[in-house]
Amino acid sequence: MTTPQNPAVLAPPLESTAALLTELITHLRKSRTQLREEWVQRITEAELLTAMTKDEIFAEATSVYDSYVEALETGTLEALQAYARNLSERIIPRGVETHEVVGIVLLLRDVLARSLFAKYRTDFSVLDRVLDAYEPAANRIAITVAVGFVQERERVIREQQEAIRELSTPVLQVRERLLILPIIGLIDPQRARQLTEQLLRGIRTNRAKVVVIDITGVAAMDATVANHLVLTVESARLLGATVIVTGLSPEIAQTLVNIGVDLGKMNTVGDLQGGIEEAERLLGYKVYPTRETPAA
């Protein structure tokens, strides 16, 4: 019964159905206290929302009930979508799962349907038309809430993954104007992109003139990631920073050559220590080993 063009709107009901819908909504509002009680009880019996207290369940149940009836009344789902997102934001950190959210919405649908059966049980033809008005809308509402919850969950998971990735690759400022980016493990294109972003941001924030990218801890790279490394070096140069790549394994060197990189033009040093020394030389630092001092 939803319009194909705009899924956020329930299709306008026919004349007689419209009158029935109004009657139905009035009934749902009048019976609010009782039906809400019944619903909360069914939620508890079904052992859903165990992560929440009775008071919390009651408070949310009230909001959901009211939003539900409002969606039936206005025929639009926007307010309900917004509420679903908001609710999801609050309960996901509490550990509430998808099947619980779907479960409670279906229970509400059933509780309301049963109360309609009870009210119109003496006249099947009216009951029939009431259900015709109620069912499609109720189903659409259930889907909206469930989808809203799932989308919010996916967003949270993505954010957490981002945060983990950021944490696992710090850009270190070791000396003034010198940044070190140690990379360990596997790099997929997405991680490569993130590293580049962090590095370029880091160059700007720290006003770095030299960056040492250490890939000792990286066993291999495919051509896409290798190419990305080259782009990173070029981008850093445009920001006024020189990049030194250290810890280049023979395999990765080969990959770079295969994609057409002139290793002679790339600034590479065998290991991180050597790379830092080269960086300091470029920056004009003179580092003396502890025992030796320059000739007076």
């Binding site: 972003e197 370029l200 160059i203 700007r204 006003r207 782009l231 981008s235 140069r237 445009l238 006024g240």
Partner: protein
């Protein structure tokens, strides 16, 4: 819209605005070449901090600009390329090879100072 060009000691500094048209950029190139001669400036800084895109035309024009300035005995530094713009240029394949680029105006001036000093000594 004309790009403002300031004289700061031995240098000319041009700060580009966001809504830069092709004509503005070409005009800047010509204006800098003229003024380098008049003011006997030793260095030019073009500050592109406000540019959110540097496409092939802009890159080509900046390269021409640097080349023409060098023919007049002065050096050009492009400063303030934004990180996202730098990456887009690299991805596209636009290089400013042979042209000095620095993070910002301060770095650009420091570079020109160093470079002038080196020229005097060497």
């Amino acid at each position: 819209m004309e790009v403002p060009i300031l004289k700061q000691g031995p240098y000319l500094i041009a700060t580009v605005q966001a809504a830069l048209t092709d004509a503005d950029l070409l005009g800047l190139r010509d204006a800098l070449v003229d003024r380098i001669g008049q003011a006997r400036s030793r260095g030019v800084i073009v500050d592109v901090t406000a540019l959110d895109v540097l496409d092939s035309f802009a890159t080509r024009t900046l390269r021409d600009l640097a080349h023409m300035i060098r023919l007049r005995g002065a050096e050009t530094v492009i400063v303030g390329i934004q990180p996202e713009v730098a990456f887009a240029m690299a991805q596209f394949g636009l290089t400013l090879e042979g042209i000095t680029t620095t993070l910002d105006l301060e770095e650009g001036l420091a570079y020109l100072d160093e470079s002038l000093k080196a020229k005097r000594i060497g």
